[in-house]
């Protein structure tokens, strides 16, 4: 259940902050950090004293490039949060350095911590004892009891309600089949294999839908990766700002101001977006800007959803058309910005390119059209059109796994029926499906329950 390996995670809140912390815990944490840290004094990491801060640099061991200047804090066991060897790397805030340093620790050999894994280790190693850990228990109670009572009205509540419906139907089928098995001489109406098959196929279909809903659940937790793209100076950063309702990105009217990727979190109609603002896309000779443009293309590939911005006050350019063709097969919303200015752009021409994608008139500066945008995003997420990408912070994989396992069991049921097997064989996989689904609602207990429980904690606590 528990592996004594070394884990690593970003310990500070996501988003910009003055300082960010990457934390490692486990027997190899000092060794791993030794591969990427160079102290200013030239001392080997292994020789650094415990519970002292050391100034130095994080260096990519492959390229030799300095990633950030940092303070290193080593806390040797058992005097640490987890009672294991812990290393904290205090670097500059902001997603980029944090992410890169985290990646380097992972490359060095650490495993990305599961959500709540530091707390779990602290707990299991007796750092917090049970009597002190009322809060922890409260969370255990709340988490598992909630799923039982469906007391929450958000998506997971809806989910467990649906799962209970499924289990009810499975139980009905099982009971019918079992009755005929246990009471062969009673005149019980035996349910026909055909009827079982039909019910199971129906369930299987609904399960498929539910798997995509579960992914929506994950989006709600981790944020939908949203990439804003468009030519320079169409108002990408303005849009980002009005979404954030505060100024983050530098907004000027000089084309090419945003030279790096800006990542922000915003909550649009209840859906958290991880918004990535990109450099304006155009052919450019400016080296720095060109890197930005290349990155923008890269980001496009990883996006869950693309917001493509056009300038209503300018005619459709070649660059615009290029982007339109690029986003043809992606989930995208076309935003026609600067709708407060006289319209020059050829709208029918756009509609020709965008196919079925929503087109919304906005004014990023005046904040108009944002409600429509919010509605369009909601639509995409809840209709299951948009599916979250495999982010490294996925926390609800377990549910999806169980749903998929259940689906496999139902497939087996169909195979068994098609092979002409008798009801007692059909029941085997029906029961397995029923059992697995119960692990989501908390009515049946899987062996991995403790891992489930601790995964409910926030990462790096």
């Amino acid at each position: 259940m528990y592996q004594e390996d070394t884990i690593s995670a970003i310990a500070t809140a996501v988003g910009d902050g003055g300082i960010g912390i990457i934390r490692l815990s486990g027997p190899e944490s000092i060794n791993y950090v030794n591969q990427i840290f160079r102290s200013a004094s030239g001392k080997n990491t292994n020789e650094l004293p415990s519970h002292f801060a050391t100034y130095g640099y994080i260096i990519d061991p492959v390229s030799g490039v300095t990633v950030d200047e940092v303070l290193l804090l080593i806390m040797k066991k058992p005097r640490s949060y987890t009672r294991e060897d812990v290393v904290e790397i205090h670097c500059h805030g902001g997603p980029m350095p944090l992410k890169r340093i985290l990646e380097l620790t992972l490359k060095a050999g650490a495993r990305l911590a599961e959500p709540g894994e530091f707390t779990k280790r602290a707990f299991l190693n007796g750092r917090i004892d049970l009597s002190q850990a009322e809060a922890v228990i409260d969370i255990i109670r709340a988490k598992t009891d909630i799923s039982l009572k469906m007391s929450v009205s958000h998506l997971s509540g809806v989910l467990s309600e649906k799962i209970n419906d499924f289990r009810h139907e499975l139980l009905r089928l099982i009971a019918h089949l079992e009755a005929a098995i246990d009471f062969p001489e009673d005149d019980i109406d035996e349910i026909a294999a055909k009827d079982v098959e039909k019910s199971v196929l129906d369930l299987s279909g609904e399960l498929e839908t539910m798997i995509s809903t579960a992914q929506t659940g994950r989006i709600l937790k981790d944020g939908l990766k949203t990439v804003i793209i468009g030519k320079p100076n169409v108002g990408k950063s303005s849009l980002l700002n009005s979404l954030l309702r505060e100024t983050r990105a530098i907004v000027t009217d000089i084309p090419g101001t945003t030279r790096d990727i800006i990542e922000e979190y915003a909550n649009i109609g209840g859906i958290p977006l991880r918004i990535i603002d990109t450099a304006g896309i155009r052919d450019t000779n400016d080296l720095v800007e060109r890197i930005g443009v290349e990155k923008a293309w890269e980001m496009l590939d990883q996006a869950d959803i693309v917001l493509f911005i056009l300038d209503a006050s300018l005619p459709l350019s070649e660059d615009d058309q290029k982007i339109l063709s690029l986003i043809k097969n992606r989930k995208a919303i076309v935003l026609v910005n600067k709708s407060d200015l006289p319209e020059v752009i050829d709208m029918p021409e756009i509609l020709k390119y965008v196919h079925d994608k929503p087109v919304i008139n906005i004014s990023a500066l005046k904040g108009t059209g944002l409600d429509e945008l919010s509605k369009a995003i909601n639509e995409m997420v809840f209709s299951g059109q948009v599916k979250g990408s495999e982010g490294s912070f996925v926390s609800n994989v377990r549910h999806v796994n169980i749903l998929e396992e259940t689906k496999r069991s139902l497939c087996e049921v169909i195979n068994t029926i098609n092979a002409g097997m008798s009801p007692d064989f059909i029941v085997i996989d029906l029961r397995a499906a029923w059992q697995r689904l119960g692990e989501i609602t908390g009515e049946t207990v899987g062996e991995d329950i403790i891992d489930q429980i601790f995964s409910q904690f926030c990462i790096g606590k």
Partner: protein, 624 residues
Amino acid sequence: MYVAGTYDVVIVGAGHAGCEAALAAARMGCRTLLATLNMDNIAMMPCNPAVGGPAKGHLVREIDALGGEMGINTDKACIQIRMLNTGKGPAVHALRAQTDKKVYQNLMKNTLENQQNLVVKQLLIDKILMNNSVVEGIETENGEVYLSKCVVIATGTYLKGRIILGEVAFDGGPNGQRSATKLSKSLLENGISLMRFKTGTPARVDRNTVDFSKMRIQPGDDQTHNFSFMSDIDTRQQVPCWLTYTNSKTHQIIRDNLHRAPLYMGIIEGTGPRYCPSIEDKVVRFQEKEAHQLFIEPEGLDTTEMYVQGMSTSLPVEVQYAFLRTIPGLENVEIMRPGYAIEYDCVDPLQLKATLEFKNIAGLFSAGQANGTSGYEEAAAQGLVAGINAALLVKNLPGLILGRSEAYIGVLIDDLVTKGTTEPYRIMTSRAEYRLILRQDNADLRLTEKGRLVGLVDDERFQRFCQKKLGIESTLKLLAETLVSPTPEMQTIMRTMGTAELRTGSSLYDLLRRTELNYDRLSQHFSLPDIPGNVSEQVEVTIKYEGYIKKQLAEVERAAKLEAKLLPPNIDYDKISGLSQEARQKLTKIRPLSVGQATRISGVSPADISILLVYLEQQRRMEL
């Protein structure tokens, strides 16, 4: 105090539980006393004249595999045998025998009387003697005391038994017997909590007054079967049962007389079994059903009494007459014994360990209907386990506990001691999670070695078992090693056997997976040894259902992880913060042996289980 004798084990009651318990303890070398309140009614079948059926037949096979008596006795007393569910998979094939009740009783009595180390006496027990939570013996109604290291309560429906028939009710046991009126008090005084259950039986009618021409005959199977792995009976005289149906007239009479039904008059306090309802209950609960089936079954060869299966009732006798006579074939029926309901005290099984010993009283065991079950087979299974464990306790050896993945007996006892029961408990195949593994055909492979280990399986049985096991293993090996390739000659053989041609090289093992092939078919074309039917049966089941069996074994393994997390016996649940109040109480009362068992306790939520797991993990680390 007059001490009339000193024993290792005393069994109170000589029904199906008591008989198995007594034989097991005596065969394991303990000086054993079996106390019955009537020497003429040992191993009596007070209800239906049948043994076996789905899950129940499995239990009988398991009892036999462990070295118990019920299977052998049934085979000898059998007057009709049927394998039920043959249209379904091997896991739910179920053997069911009609027996001659008197023959069954006499055979069992004879076996008991001739058993070394065993004394059978007619005694009515009033008291269980205890000192400091340790059992010391029993005291009879005449004041005789029998001292004993272990006592097994196997009192069936006799504890404060009360017969109810229409407006009439009186103290008594089944079939006009006495009941044990004082023993309940003695149990209560010793801190044992009791429940009150109810069961019933239909009328017995005179076969000379039944018109069988209006009923459908239900004969036994052409090919005979045996329960016991030791029985070699290959032909037996069989008598048929008869099927007929109730109709709207029957139902109307019952409805018109509901005000006279003890069940609806509030006379019956005890909880009855849902799956074996009385006819008045069926008519009320399933009003839309136009007819209920009933079987007329012989009670024996030397009697004209017949059992009316499906018509259990406690309505007054004249009402019984009225509704029976509406049924085709029973128009002129004479009742020889009327149906009746019986209420009785039984032990709340949550007070028991999985060995069936009381948690709080060393040496005191309880088994059978006295633990809230119903059925001869359920009783016998518990009797056997209680007898074995009493003997093991006398010898200072660890107890025998069968797991849910090992035996229906394990499922039965785990259900009783973990979940308890609120109605007379009946075993069903659907109660078993791993049905495909717990087949009636492999009960010996699952349990005979365990029976041998505790000293209940004699040499003859063990040799037979080893031979069979060896036969299965060597045949499986041979089949896997015999390879066939798609030569023209081989394809001809395939066509002759009526199966698809080979596409690639294959083994006979793989060929046997094909539905249309069996061992006999294969041995007609390949040089395979002649093996007994019970060996080829195992070989075929093993190969044909391999995929499903593997799947179940994987499930067993999954569950085994929680079963393997043992809860220390001295664990103080009050000291574990975070447990819900209900979980705390239940865990303290039931004291599960493992986290796996704890998960099956109602009222213990997954959150409580998580907290237990966390607690265990912390304890483990503290010890490191």
